[in-house]
Amino acid sequence: MLNQYLVLSGILFTIGVTGVLLRRNVIVIFMCVELMLNAVNLSILAFSRYHAGLGNLDAAMNGHALVIMVMAVAAAEAAVGLAIVISIYRRRETVDVEEINLLKW
């Protein structure tokens, strides 16, 4: 069972990375980042379940707690990130990362 979860997680993560690297739209990059986070969440849960075994729910809770933590952080990050995107859009009327390139040497 673990293998299937991990393969799914790997595929989701790769899609996420590819999206971050190739897409230009900030919103899409953002979604891809979320995708990567959730891929990791998935693998954490799979490992947690795998190591704890079926009978030992207490031990499995460790993985669950971590995942909820990641979700909370991701939600916070999304709130800040989307706020920045809105702010940039109001100023520049674009969400293309190739045009948002002033912060450099």
């Binding site: 690297l21 190739e98 948002i100 390139n101 040497w105």
Partner: protein
């Protein structure tokens, strides 16, 4: 050893004065001028009272009694056998007592005088702060119970000397005179430090690293056995090396050949400073140090000979220069150098009490001379050239321009010239006699030679001092007319006696130097040398050690046997402490006394001749020193004296210029510019070039950052999986 906590008060009072006056100067809340002077002089007066009280209590103790006070434990390192401990401690024994009394009382009088002298100066607060700071440092120097505390005082007085020489620092010449004094002193201090290093090393070998005088004295016989190998020079006895090194420090501080050159320039400072620091107290620190380390020097015959010889040479050398100088303060400066030479002559031949006695009498009469010269300078409206003075003390008493200044100055001149019954005669004659009569264990005839130098110097002293006095106070007034040498003129009517606050200290100092003579040798007066008896337990402690060597242990040690053989039974300092040799002394005593009287007669004759010659040349024949425009045409000998034997020029050419050229061409233009700056700039340039490449990574495109990140993760993962 008795302890008392009063000793620390002596240096503490001037320190309080420094705080009060210094803080008010620093916060720019100037106190009233009178208050400043009163605080400064009052603090020194309290020190003087404390010192006097302790002196009275000390006199009630047995001969070798002393007071001791540990203020705090200062430097402590190591433990047990390796313990190195320097307490911040004071000792008030008979030697420190004499020094502290001299420093405090002469210092107090000079502080009082300064109130009058500096009355018009805008930065009087700064002046008294420095002067009190000097008193504090000087008292540390004389009261410290170990060499380190002495050394703090030693450096402290050097600092104050620098600050006060360059007191009027707006004048570039004065500022550089201060710098010269400081640098030359530092050269000497380096020798002093080396001496202390050697001594500490030696003490570590014999157990108990300490620089306390007591501990050093206990260990001195063990130290005598030790030798130091200097690579490339050979092996020398430790005590000789220490003695010579510490004397190098003394040549700097006490202005002896070859480091005397700063003292004449130091006359750029205010005149009371010249009196206090550059005549009465600070410059005698070297003499005090040698006398304090007498137990060491009396076991280091070679180092002692060096001390005596340098002293004798300086005494004559500086006295000859004094003959041709025309600045009233310069004459006195060379006179000070010369008199310090006599003191070193005394301590060098082992007559520590005679050297210290001359120190004390010199403090009084030279302070009087300097303060007198300050009064003259003030009376003549800042004229220092004796070619522009004259007739300040002529005519009837009521007509004399400067009654009291003149009187004290003339008596002080007779005193320094060495005419009886003044103290200068007594102390100088004691030194000359000790030089003549003490045998030298290294070079048998050298003390006679030194005596000859001393007598010749005494003649010059009498001559130049008479010249100075006659030209200043006698004859006709020469400051009134313009000439192409001197553009300013001061009518004779405008010359006036100085205020009372200035001449009263002069009179008190005069009483001092007239009466002090009766304390000293004065065998012709009372047959008893009270001063020597007072100091003997401290300064002749070395002869106790020497006597120990000559005792049972002496037979075992060939070196000690030699020392014993060289020790003449007639040597007063030893005979006092060795009853066994008393019969030998009585036999030789009669002949010796006759010889002493003869030499005494000789030195009186020499002094009288010098005074007479000076009077005849400048008083009767009215010979005048050449004016600046005529100085080109004087004879070669006169020219050499006028130019101070070109010593400054020689030092400039041999030492200063090579250092300057090497510093400029090598250290500055090559080492500093190429190596130091090259390294610093090279590092900066490399960093700049590397970062110029590196910053191309930061191109502002988020996608590329993400790519680098993924690349990094891939590398790390690859390493973890494959590596």
């Amino acid at each position: 050893m008795h302890s008392t906590s009063l000793i620390a008060l002596i240096p503490l009072f001037p320190l309080l004065g420094v705080l009060v006056n210094g803080v008010s100067v620093w916060r720019r809340k100037e106190l009233p001028r009178k208050t400043v002077g009163r605080i400064a002089a009052g603090s020194v007066f309290l020190s003087a009272l404390t010192a006097t009280y302790l002196f009275v209590r000390l006199a009630q103790l047995p001969d070798d009694g002393k007071f001791h006070q540990v203020v705090f434990s200062w430097i402590v390192a190591g433990r047990d056998a390796d313990l190195f401990s320097i307490p911040f401690a004071f000792t008030f024994d008979r030697l420190s007592a004499v020094m502290a009394l001299t420093v405090c009382w002469v210092g107090f009088l000079i502080h009082v005088y300064s109130i009058g002298y500096m009355a018009e100066d805008p930065s009087v607060g700064r002046y008294f702060t420095y002067l009190n700071l000097f008193m504090f440092a000087m008292l540390l120097l004389v009261l410290g119970s170990n060499l380190i505390v002495l050394f703090i005082g030693w450096e402290g007085v050097g600092l104050c000397s620098y600050l006060l020489i360059g007191f009027w620092f707006e004048d570039n010449e004065k500022a550089s005179a201060g710098k010269k004094a400081f640098i030359v002193n530092r050269i000497g201090d380096f020798g002093f430090l080396l001496g202390m290093f050697f001594l500490t090393w030696g003490m570590a070998q014999v157990g108990g690293m300490s620089l306390e005088y007591d501990k050093l004295q206990e260990a001195i016989l063990k130290l005598k056995e030790m030798a130091v190998t200097l690579p490339g020079f050979g092996t020398f006895p430790l005590l000789e090396i220490v003695g010579v090194c510490m004397f190098i420090g003394a040549t700097g501080k006490s202005a002896q050949i070859p480091l005397y050159i700063w003292l004449p320039d130091a006359m750029a400072g205010p005149t009371p400073v010249s009196a206090l620091i550059h005549a009465a107290t600070m410059v005698t620190a070297g003499v005090y140090m040698v006398a304090r380390m007498g137990f060491l020097y009396s076991l280091a015959p070679f180092a002692s000979t060096v001390v005596a010889l340098v002293g004798g040479l300086t005494a004559l050398f500086a006295a000859t220069i004094g003959i041709a100088q025309n600045d009233i303060k310069k004459v006195l400066a060379y006179s000070t150098v010369s008199q310090l030479g006599y003191m070193f002559m005394g301590v060098g031949v082992g007559a520590y009490s005679a050297g210290i006695f001359h120190l004390v009498t010199h403090a009084f009469f030279k302070a009087c001379l300097f303060l007198g010269s300050g009064a003259v300078i003030m009376a003549c409206h800042h004229e220092q050239d004796i070619r522009r003075m004259g007739a300040l003390w002529t005519g009837r008493w009521s007509e004399k321009k400067m009654k009291w200044t003149g009187l004290t100055f003339i008596l002080a001149t007779l005193c320094i010239a060495g005419l009886p019954p003044f103290s200068g005669f007594v102390s100088k004659d004691e030194i000359l006699w000790m030089a003549f009569s003490t045998p030298n264990s290294v070079y048998p005839t050298v003390h006679k030679f030194i005596w000859g130098l001393g007598v010749a110097g005494a003649f010059c002293t009498a001559f130049y001092m008479t010249r100075l006095t006659v030209l200043t106070f006698g004859g006709e007034y020469r400051g009134g007319e313009h000439s192409h040498d001197f553009h300013h003129a001061l009518p004779h009517e405008k010359v006036h006696e100085v205020p009372k606050v200035m001449w009263v200290p002069l009179v008190i100092l005069m009483v001092g130097f007239v009466s002090l003579g009766f304390l000293g040798k004065s065998r012709i007066f009372s047959g008893d040398n009270a001063f020597h008896h007072w100091l003997a337990p401290v300064v002749d402690a070395g002869s106790h050690e020497k006597a120990l060597l000559e005792g049972p242990a002496g037979a075992l040690l060939p070196a000690a046997g030699e020392a014993a053989a060289a020790e003449d039974p007639g040597h007063g300092a030893v005979a006092v402490h060795e009853p066994a040799e008393a019969p030998a002394k009585e036999e030789g005593g009669e002949a010796e006394h006759k010889l002493e009287m003869m030499l005494m007669g000789l030195s009186v004759a020499v002094a009288a001749l010098g005074v007479l010659l000076g009077y005849l040349v400048y008083g009767v024949r009215k010979v005048r020193p050449p004016m600046p425009s005529e100085e080109k045409s004087v004879g070669p000998a006169h020219k050499a004296l006028l130019n101070k034997y070109w010593v400054d020029e020689i030092y400039q050419a041999l030492i200063v210029n090579p250092i300057r050229v090497a510093s400029e061409s090598l250290l500055w233009k090559i080492f500093d510019v190429k190596v130091v700056d090259g390294t610093v700039n090279g590092v900066a340039r490399t960093a700049k070039e590397v970062s110029a490449e590196g910053l191309k990574l930061q191109n502002g495109i988020v996608t590329s950052y993400a790519f680098y990140m993924v690349l990094g993760v891939a590398v790390v993962l690859g390493y973890l999986i494959l590596g």
